[in-house]
């Protein structure tokens, strides 16, 4: 009898704990959305920010966030893909592989502020790129590489060895097998991994404060020549992203409507992460359907 009473009490306690956690998480999400969504308007999403007056928007910051994300992915994806292929297809179990795996693990656990400071020291100061989108993209690449590499490796690892054997039996070299058989088969889950990591990159701020900078100069959205200073595409201009913007206006405290702007910007960030999560799964499914006969 006693064991049954204990069982009931323990189950009750677990229900309470889970209920509390659900409550905390729901309150958190609810607070962000309820406070943020009313501030969202076309004007808020497109207007440039104002430092000393109320009524500014987040247009430039939003554009910077997306541009930085695309540049980061352009740099980090090929490297992560190569590294993932080597680790899963070629690497033998020896000291070199163990060492590299350890290095990747360490890189993934480094605090992002340390990665940002390293980017600041090497790229901004030593290589003299200044506070720029390019510096920010390289810093974010360092931050993104370990996770992306692991997700690529995981995707390749989930492909059955039968496919590799079939490739070898047809007389294909290992590289040709990887390129024409394994990669297409792994594509859906690779894409899912890439989009999920994009969500993480999109909200990162600590690594960007001292690499992409904390200022958002006015942009001329009619000028798409990447070599002009006012052009949105210029990779060498300083660019404050949305996440950095939230941090900056809250720690400076000179913007009169900082709380409203950050509430709106937080809601945008959370919605963006949500969209990335949904997009990741949806894209993975769509590509899987297109590549296979599972219609």
């Amino acid at each position: 009898m006693q064991a049954k009473t204990v069982n009931k009490i323990a189950t009750g306690v677990l229900y309470i704990i889970a209920g509390l956690v659900i409550l905390i998480l729901a309150a958190l999400l609810g607070y962000i959305l309820v406070n943020g969504v009313p501030h969202l308007s076309w004007h808020f999403l497109t207007a440039p920010s104002r430092a000393f007056q109320a009524g500014g928007g987040i247009g430039i910051q939003l554009f910077n966030s997306f541009y930085l994300l695309i540049l980061t992915m352009l740099i980090s994806f090929p490297i992560a893909l190569g590294a993932g292929i080597y680790l899963n297809e070629y690497a033998k179990k020896n000291w070199f592989t163990t060492m590299i795996r350890t290095a990747i693990e360490i890189l993934s656990s480094l605090p992002s502020v340390v990665v940002g400071l390293f980017g600041f020291l090497l790229i901004v100061v030593k290589l003299n790129f200044g506070f720029s989108i390019l510096s920010g993209a390289i810093a974010l690449t360092l931050f993104n590489l370990p996770l992306l590499t692991r997700s690529v490796e995981g995707s390749l690892n989930s492909i059955s060895n039968l496919q590799r054997e079939a490739g070898s039996a047809l007389g294909l070299s290992k590289w040709e097998t990887v390129l024409h058989v394994i990669l297409p088969a792994a594509l859906p889950s690779i894409v899912t991994g890439v989009v999920l990591s994009a969500g993480r990159v999109f909200g990162e701020a600590a690594a960007l404060i001292y690499t992409a900078g904390q200022s958002a100069p006015a942009l001329d959205f009619g000028d798409w020549n990447p070599f002009n200073m006012a052009s949105p595409l210029n990779p060498l201009r300083p660019a404050e992203t949305l996440a950095v913007h939230i941090w900056k206006i809250n720690s400076e405290g000179i913007m009169p409507d900082a709380a409203a702007v950050s509430a709106g910007a937080s809601a945008v960030l959370v919605i963006a992460v949500l969209l990335f999560n949904i997009l990741a799964r949806w894209l993975g499914k769509v590509i899987f359907k297109r590549l296979t006969a599972a219609r």
């Binding site: 204990v6 069982n7 070629y90 990747i104 605090p111 502020v113 990665v115 590489l145």
Partner: protein
């Protein structure tokens, strides 16, 4: 004859492609290795300059309680005692892990053992979403909700270790929970079945069998959460108060390694002593994340033996 011989001995196109592919993928991998090595080299060389170039005593740095790098103390040496920040970082990390652990384990058990259907359908996606929420958003919520709340209850400014703990607790909760869920799911189903078959109640099966089997994985999840809390910069910086003094109590303004680092690095000149000491703080962060890494590996190894 010679033609056949030649074509047999010559490197084929496929082999050339193979070599090409192997080389570029290996180059990508080596690049990552080089990045890690150079991070360590640069941060260490900058961080150690405090002791070798600026001749600051290592022990004074680690145990000094006054942080004021721009002025000299009574002994004519710069006041660079990092103990307040080290204490702040450790306090916030340990406290948030202590608070988060029971919640994370309880929720994970609920999701895997008690109500798997509800857990997988509702809790799982919400937790996955929360893992991805940017840390500045947590910081902003902390600033607008947690800090005023603590101010109204305990008085003072509301900034301090307690606010930092609350923010980090909410921040690492999803991470620790989802890792614990993975661990509990990897406990073989026949463990549960055999426990129930010999007459254990569900709680006995959970407490005496499943949790025991999952201990290494749960420990890893907690250490992982602590590593994340220790390295978190902006969310903490926004609520901790950033006063580089020893924390008197949980509600007085304090500081962490990361908060002083983010505040200070833009206001000091590269290569000066004031700048070097900040790099030393970064080096401490780097070493601590290494230590967390080693702990996780040790737990993994111990778990393997069972």
């Amino acid at each position: 004859m010679d033609q056949i011989r030649e074509s047999l001995l010559k490197t084929s196109v496929a082999t050339k492609k193979e070599r090409f592919g192997k080389t570029i993928t290996m180059a990508a991998l080596i690049l990552i290795g080089l990045v890690v090595i150079s991070i360590f080299y640069f941060v260490a060389s900058k961080g150690l300059a405090t002791f070798f170039t600026d001749k600051i005593n290592f022990w004074d740095f680690m145990t000094g309680k006054t942080w004021n790098p721009s002025t000299n103390g009574s002994n004519g040496k710069p006041q660079v005692g990092a103990l307040p920040m080290i204490t702040g970082s450790f306090m916030i990390t340990v406290l948030s892990a202590i608070v988060a652990t029971p919640f994370a384990i309880g929720t994970a058990i609920f999701m895997t053992e008690i109500s798997p259907k509800y857990g997988a359908k509702i809790l799982q996606p919400v937790i996955e979403l929360l893992v991805g929420i940017p840390s500045v958003v947590y910081g902003f919520i902390g600033l607008t909700v947690v800090v005023p709340f603590i101010r109204s209850i305990f008085g003072g400014s509301g900034f301090g270790v307690l606010s930092g703990t609350v923010v980090l607790f909410v921040m690492i909760l999803p991470t620790v929970t989802s890792m614990t869920v993975d661990t509990l799911r990897s406990v073989p189903q026949y463990y549960r079945e055999s426990a129930l078959a010999i007459g254990a109640t569900q709680w006995q099966a959970i407490y005496k069998v499943i949790l025991r089997a999952a201990t290494p994985g749960i420990l890893t999840a907690i250490v992982f959460g602590m590593a994340r809390a220790f390295g978190e910069a902006l969310a903490v910086q926004m609520v901790v108060g950033n006063a580089a003094i020893m924390p008197q109590n949980l509600t007085s303004p304090a500081s962490t390694l990361t908060s002083i680092l983010t505040m200070g690095i833009g206001n000091t000149v590269m290569g000066s002593m004031q700048n070097d000491v900040l790099w030393t703080l970064a080096l401490i962060l780097l070493v601590m994340s290494l230590i967390f890494n080693i702990i996780i590996r040790l737990i993994g190894k111990k778990g393997e033996l069972k």
